[in-house]
């Protein structure tokens, strides 16, 4: 009887500790070493000649997220010099000064300004997107899924709580100062879709 009575405050205390740790939020770092292959940033161009996708696993940054309050923020950095389109010559063109100019602008950055929870794991996120040295405010839907450390995270090769973030939005290359040469018209679209799928771990 006494033991049962004692267990109630202990349970309340531990529940409160758990809720406090959630309320404070956690910082999840994007693993760009061992499990980097799981982080995918891509740019898709749908043109008359063909649809091609440039892909890279070089994604870094961190996400701050509180699963209890569903509040968070984050900054994600993509290395454009590692984007692979499947054709080496096109990769070189993409890096050149006429296109992404990766020597001058070595990072593509997305940094959140405002995060609003929608339904389930979906959030409406407004942030600054920087490409080719030009920063523009964009709003997109982000799916952020959370898994506390356990058997599933261990099986997947993660050591800690995990969040998986995925989003997709369209941008106009012209808005970011990238002009498509007449020679490439029909091969590269003016509007491209930027997609991101990345995992981050709280340690």
């Amino acid at each position: 009887m006494n033991r049962n009575l004692l267990s109630i405050p202990v349970a309340i205390l531990s529940a409160s500790l758990v809720s406090q740790s959630f309320a404070s939020g956690k910082v999840f770092d994007i693993d760009n070493q061992k499990l980097a292959y799981r982080n995918i940033a891509s740019i898709e161009s749908v043109a008359d000649f063909e649809t091609f996708t440039g892909k890279t696993n070089s994604v870094s940054g961190s996400i701050s997220f509180d699963p209890a309050t569903k509040k968070g923020s984050g900054k994600i950095i993509i290395d454009p010099s590692t984007i692979d389109t499947g054709i080496p010559l096109r990769n070189e063109h993409m890096k050149s000064s006429g296109w992404l100019d990766t020597q001058k602008y070595p990072q593509i950055v997305f940094e959140t300004i405002k995060v609003q929870p929608l339904r389930g794991d979906d959030y409406r996120v407004t942030g600054n997107f920087t490409l080719h040295g030009v920063t523009k405010k964009i709003t997109t839907t982000v799916r952020l899924r959370y898994r506390a450390q356990g058997q599933a995270t261990k099986l997947a090769g993660f050591s800690g709580d995990v969040v998986q973030l995925s989003t997709k939005f369209e941008i106009s290359l012209n808005d970011y100062g990238i002009k498509i040469p007449a020679m490439s018209a029909g091969k590269v679209a003016k509007e491209v879709t930027v997609s991101l799928s990345t995992y981050a771990i709280a340690k």
Binding site: E50, D84, G86, A156
Partner: protein
Amino acid sequence: MRLPSKARRAFFWIGTACAVVSITTLFAAPNVRQTYASKAVLTQIVQVDPAGESLFGDGATPIGSPQLMIIDDPKAVVPAKGTSDVCQVDDGYLKKNNIYPLQLKTVDFFVHWANMISVVGLIFGLILSVQFRKKS
């Protein structure tokens, strides 16, 4: 100025050859397109990650959007898990084996331009051959 008969004959045959090649192309192009179209499948290139399935049920991450593609190597195809009509293809396998899948829209693009050039070639060839046939 009147061209020598040898030159006129040469222009006549160039025009005729141009017209014949153009007609052949105009007839062949839809068949070529049909051959590729019969092999094309709606394909989604994915990055396979079996370990990731235990977390959120995603065993593969899509890269880009589904496209009509011609996949000649069946080993590139990821076994289907659901009832989706979209064929999943492993990006890692494609990269490892230097495979760049042909898209049906690329075939369409070439067929379209082949048809356009053939129409121009046919008109040009007919004008050339008729012009120099009349005067010879």
